[in-house]
Every structure is written in C-alpha cells, then in structure tokens.
Subunit: 194 residues, 2 copies
C-alpha cells in the first residue's frame, strides 16, 4: 500500500481530546510505517474552529477540497452537525458509499447513526449518549466495549477512548508490532490516579 490518507473532522464545538488523541496516534504512526500516512484536519470552512472548551485550531482542508480519504475519524462534542440534516451527515454518507473506513469517538457515533450506517450493526458511544444511540432502530449498543469494530464502521466510547481506537486502527491496517511502537512513543502506560 503506497499511502494511507486519513481525515479528521472538526467544527465549532468539537471536543478537544476526542480528535487530538487519534491525531497524535495516527500522525505518530507515520514515523514507524513503511507507507506514507497523511492526516488532514477537515472542516466546512478554512476559518479558525473554536472547540468545545475554547481551544482554537485551523483546519488543513475544507470538505470541498478533501481528497478521498481511506479513513475518516468523526469525534464528538457539540452535536449540531451530527443531526439528520447536518452538513457532516451528508459528507459521511458520501464517503461511506465510496469505501472509506468510518471511525468515530464519543458522540461521533450519532452522526453515523443519523447517516444510516449503523443499522443492524454493533456500536458504542460516550456513556452519556448510550440512550440516544439506542433510540436508533437496529443499532446493537455495546456500552461496555472500549471500541467496536463492525467492519466498515468502528465506534469508540467517550473522549479518551479515541486513543485506544486509533491504536487499534494502526493494528488493523498495519500490524500489532507497529501499533506497539506507536504506543511506546506516546508512552501510553496509563495510571489514572483516581
């Protein structure tokens, strides 16, 4: 495989760690892989994006400019773009129809549910959004799994779960050996003090 193109969606209200966790893991992957890993932050407009807790970031490309990605990461946070009629859901539908591996962190799963991608599939989301996800017909909610690989769609639990899921993406698309190197690079030996 010559290269892997990854897009990470952001918008005003996106939760900071939801997208920076996967960004860190997936960009670090590039340092340990034989293939070229490109990670682009994508938004509706080229303007500054104000995240959920006030961090301001600049997207790399707009959705209109985005080259077809092999992998999409949809984080959670402020949910307006995830609604059935939201712009994000439209973009998600198009990519899913063209073979992109769809992945989400936190309430990003709701965008996939609204796009109809989770019908008849297992999925997870942030604990605070489990009921919302269960309200969609045919979604088999797995509250206790850190992330769920349903083949064309991978969903993860809330916020920090994106780190675990991104390491899994490296494992699935590359190898456990390379994923272990990335884990070591980010020194991911978590010890929550509470």
């Amino acid at each position: 495989m010559a290269g892997t193109r990854i897009a990470i969606a952001v918008w005003d209200g996106v939760e900071e760690l939801d997208f920076v966790g996967p960004f860190e893991v997936l960009t670090a992957w590039n340092g340990y892989s034989e293939r070229d890993i490109e990670v682009a932050i994508v938004a509706e407009r080229a303007d500054v994006v104000r995240c959920a807790h006030g961090l301001r970031v600049l997207p790399d490309v707009t959705w209109d400019e985005l080259e077809h990605p092999d992998v999409l990461v949809v984080p959670g946070g402020g949910m307006t773009p995830h609604h059935e009629t939201g712009a994000l859901v439209d973009n998600v539908r198009k990519l899913a129809a063209n073979g992109t591996l769809m992945t989400s962190v936190c309430t990003g799963a709701l965008a996939y549910a609204n796009a109809g991608l989770l019908e008849g599939k297992p999925a997870t989301t942030h604990w605070g959004a489990l009921e919302g996800l269960a309200a969609f017909d045919g979604v088999e909610v797995r509250a206790d799994e850190r992330f769920v690989d349903a083949g064309e769609v991978i969903t993860a639990q809330g916020v920090s779960a994106g780190i675990d899921m991104a390491l899994y993406i490296v494992m699935r698309l590359d190898s456990a050996e390379v994923a272990a190197k990335v884990r070591r690079y980010i020194q991911y030996d978590p010890k929550p003090p509470v």
Copy 2:
C-alpha cells in the same frame, strides 16, 4: 479559593497530546468545581503555532499579556525553547520565583532542569529523555513513576502521561471526588489494544 488560573505553554514544535491531554482535563474540571478554573494557552507571539505533527493552534495570550498563573503546564516536543538560553526557561524562572505550581509533561521537565528548578528533587520525563535529565546535577530521576510530585514542581512521563498528571492536579488542588468526576466525563477507562 475564588479561582484558579492555569497557563499551558505552546510553541512551534510542541507535541500535540502533551498539551491537549492536560487542557481537556483542566478545562473539564471547571464543569465540576465550585471555583472558577481559567485555562489559557500561552505563546511568545499571538501568531498561529504549528505543533510537532502539524496541528495548527492559536494561543489565547502572549507571555507578555499573561496574568500571573496559579499553575503552569510545560509540555514537551521540539526542544529549542527548553534550552538553557531559551525564552521559555526565562519565563519559567520568573513564575517559579513567584509561587506558581510548576508542572510538566514529557520533555517539558528539561525546561525546568535548565531553569534550576529540579536541583535536589525527584522528577521524571519521557523515556527517551531520561539520560538527558540525569545529566543535570542533583536531579533524582524516577523512570518508572507516571508522574512525580516534588511539592512546587510536578513532572510527568511522556505524551499521554499528561492526562494522569492533570487528574492528579485536580485531586491535589480540589478533591479526589471532583477528579473522579472529570475522569468519568472523559471516560478514562483506558484499554490499550496492544
């Protein structure tokens, strides 16, 4: 305590997760605390900062504008500002002399070592920088501790360790109960797949 003012240092080359991990935890703290928690991203200039893996962020304030913080977080990454003559080391010295709680993630500890804050103190850093830290006279390097509380200075291991350290800061300055709520908010039940 009326409020707690936190500053997180960034510069061209700062490692993304090093500072966004603590940013997420410390801004989420605000939602569960009776006090007002303010978190500001601080840089030399107001311009866009290009992080280690290409993420572009905007600082909230410059070092000249920064109101005296109760807590400083110095992340790691590209190390030029951490050198003995670096601008960051100058700023660090001034804050340490005025009672700010000094905290670091990853190679941020080297800025503190260069500022002379770690003489006779236990400290840790990213595994790749342990030798560099040990080269400073009088630093008692603790390679295997996730983070080290030396009183006025708290240092953490690499990249992802900032999440654990920031939860500890919430615990130390507030309570274990509040820190547990923040942990639950970010659903920090890590399960590395490799």
